[in-house]
Amino acid sequence: MTVPSVAPASSTGEPVLVVESATKYFGPVKALVNGSITLFAGEAHALLGENGAGKSTLVKILAGVHGADGGHVTLDGQPVRFSSPIDAREAGVAVIYQEPTLFPDLSVAENIFMGRHPLRSGRRIDRSEMVERARQVFARLGVHLSPHRVARGLSVADQQIVEIAKAISFNAKIIIMDEPTAALSDVEVQRLFDVVATLRKEGAAIMFISHRLEEVFAMCQRVTIMRDGAFVRTAPIEDLTIDEVIYAMVGRDIVSLYGEHARTPGLNVLEVEHLTREGVFTDISFNVRAGEIVGLAGLVGAGRTEVARGIFGIDRVDAGRVRLLGQTLKSGSPLAAMRAGIGFVPEDRRQQGLVMEMAIDRNASLASIHELSRFGLIRRSSERRLATEWAARLHLKYGRFANPVKTLSGGNQQKVVLAKWLARKPRLLIIDEPTRGIDIGTKAEVHRLLGELVEQGVAILMISSEMPEVLGVADRILVLHEGRLSGEFTREEADEESIMRAAAGQVKAGVS
């Protein structure tokens, strides 16, 4: 990729924004232990860290979405505290999220000026002025977008341009971009770089969050690295190498939560051949054998969940096929996937895994309902029996089976989702983020359970954003980068650094 050469910023003078030791707790979970960053006018400053390092929490504090529990934020030397997104906006902080928040039905110009439309006499909206100002902003950014066009159907890149135009139109001093390039193609990234260079020249401070390190090195003047919710170091970009950055992001020993295990996998259970969904993932081929856990790693937005959804038939694929035990699966049919013996534990158990208002036992039996019915009527007693059996096997903690499943803790909810699929005795279990939002005790139980399942010959495909989990649980690790396989590691070869490199698209290691 080509990148524009940008002059290093002069980090002299007073900082625009200083964040010191910001903290944020969600219940007992420490999302941010020590968030610190200093921004100067005219610089592009990268904020780096692994998934879960606390970057997003820090951004949300600056955006006025979350209130900080501790620490100080000063803007132009004045202490500030944003209690709403409006506060942050009025103070001159603009946040551009990975998924832009536009009004799809309204014109591009109106999206920029919603709530702040230019007015003429009688407090009437001055449309021509609004369109003209939108044009001026686009001209300043050097992009061609029609202000009249509705926002629906804009590419993500153009949506981000609209968000940036919004930020400029209220003269934001600080523009925070949260993974703006994740969904962009190279040419679009190039255009974004040009826009950022323009903004810097005009004196804005840019905070840039990205997992693409080459972009960070091409665009930013300084880097702040976070790890486990805490500040690690800030340095000028020229003082660092990519290796040093990766080390600083990862550099910790893996907590030895996971026992040693040696397994001998059996025959192929799942074979994925050249699976492609246009614009989402491309040419994905791999296999999972009986009695092994394959980990699917990668950054947020790399397409891991999408691949899983493609295999299970939730989303249609444009090319390639999926075979289970040698039989080609009908594409686009979750029912066919279930009948063939695939279980799918989705990432978001509240939305996709459970019917929150429904009773615990009914949730557990949901995927086995055909097996439990006679003449099309569900036999309540069989349903109860199934739930009782699995509750015991999974050590489920519950009050009464008739209680809605939403009364359970996160870990126990996850056990109900697992019970639902395990009751079908799957040959392949796809499990997306098995322990997200689960306390450490239950987490170990879930891992132990996965171990037991593979002992019994089940094949498991596990997606996880938690590096220690991937390294500790999986026998083999596949890494996705922007919808393509960018690395494959055995348990022995794998370490955090090599996976991080593959996930950031730095190397192509041993793709079979």
């Binding site: 997104p85 409006i86 906006r89 928040t101 536009l102 009004f103 799809p104 039905d105 309204l106 591009v108 109106e110 919603m114 709530g115 439309h117 007015l119 407090r123 009437r124 909206i125 449309r127 992009v143 061609h144 977008l145 029609s146 066009r149 509705v150 629906r152 159907g153 804009l154 590419s155 993500v156 890149a157 153009d158 341009i161 969904a183 193609s185 190279d186 040419v187 679009e188 190039q190 255009r191 246009e278 614009g279 989402v280 491309t282 922007e482 919808g483």
Partner: protein, 345 residues
């Protein structure tokens, strides 16, 4: 692909076609009205008589009025099902006022109707916007409550045509320069509200709320207040519609306006008001009402059994919704495939 080309990604010919189609929805309805009119005229030339055309304009006037209010509500991703009942209540109470004060000026009668509707709409609005109860449930409840009240009043009060002053009846049945007064009033309401919806920030907030509620909050829109206003206005226009109903028919039964809410929602949807909020215009809704009424009359003029009227209206509704869905799926797909092709460069 060069950088220059990539800069026009958002305005590829195909995706701008999609937005153009959406923008010219109103034009499509006008064409449909003319087409229906022309076809029926060839079959039965009396369809173009003065009386027939006047009926074509006066017939949908009250639905148009209610449609204007309903449009505001639907744009915010809500729905107001109580308007038919509110219309009936207002017609009754205004009639009763005439029974007690026969010399009440016309304008006072209209304002009384407006006020009665405003109160009902405000109750809906408070419950939906501030207590956050789904609008479907709230306004359905209100529909039955007010319909019940209508029935009770119907038992005690008789509105005789003789009690309604001629000046008021003229409003409902008269014409100015050959144009039905009812249609002029409805057009005025459409023009004023249509202008406001384009011109004031508070009205644009309604579109923002329906288009993306979370983004509306981020943009500083006072969401509950705006939703409340939409329901209050919808109620007020239904109340005004009730007074005009009394003027048109000079009598009121407990079934006045029964089922109107569905005709109105149908008119809005046919007129391009997206049922999931965020887009649509009051002009579109008014044209939708005009089209449905014209088809109704055309079927009568073409001596098609009146049983078919509703079937045709229903078919039109499905076509309109299918069209909207098709356009949005198309837009989505164009976006996904375009994105994919850029990656290949």
């Amino acid at each position: 692909m060069s950088v220059l080309e990539s800069q026009s990604l958002g305005t590829s010919p195909r995706s701008s076609l999609v937005s153009a189609v959406l923008r010219f929805r109103e034009l499509a309805i006008v064409v449909a009205v003319i087409l229906v009119f022309a076809l029926t005229y060839f079959k039965n030339p009396s369809f173009a008589s003065v009386a027939s055309v006047q009926q074509m304009l006066a017939g949908p006037a009250i639905i148009i009025m209610l449609g204007v209010g309903e449009t505001l509500v639907i744009i915010t991703r809500n729905v107001d099902l109580s308007i038919g009942s509110v219309l009936g209540l207002s017609a009754f109470l205004v009639g009763d006022l005439f029974a007690h004060y026969p010399h009440m000026p016309v304008i006072v009668a209209l304002l009384a109707g407006l006020l009665i509707g405003l109160v009902c709409g405000a109750v809906n609005g408070v419950i939906v916007a501030y207590a956050r109860v789904p609008a479907l449930v709230v306004t359905l409840g209100m529909l039955y409550i007010i319909r019940g009240v209508d029935a009770v009043i119907d038992n005690g009060v008789q509105i005789e045509p003789s009690q309604i002053p001629q000046s008021f009846v003229n409003l409902g049945a008269g014409t100015i320069l050959g144009i039905p007064t009812l249609f002029i009033i409805a057009s005025a309401v459409v023009a004023v509200v249509g202008y406001v919806m384009r011109t004031f920030r508070s009205a644009r907030d309604l579109y923002a709320i329906g288009s993306n509620p979370d983004a509306a909050v981020l943009a500083g829109v006072r969401v509950p207040r705006r939703i409340f206003s939409a329901f209050a206005i919808s109620g007020a226009l239904a109340g005004l519609g009730g007074a005009l109903w009394l003027a048109e028919f000079a009598t009121v039964a407990s079934t006045a306006g029964l089922g109107y809410e569905l005709n109105v929602v149908a008119a809005c949807v046919v007129g391009g008001v997206a049922i999931f909020g965020g887009s649509g215009t009051v002009l579109g809704a008014a044209l939708g009402a005009l089209l449905l009424n014209t088809i109704d009359q055309a079927l009568v003029a073409a001596r098609v059994s009146s049983f078919w009227n509703q079937a045709v209206a229903g078919l039109l509704l499905l076509v309109a919704i299918a069209f909207d869905r098709y356009v949005s799926l198309r837009a989505e797909r164009i976006l996904r495939v375009e994105g994919a092709h850029h990656d290949d460069n």
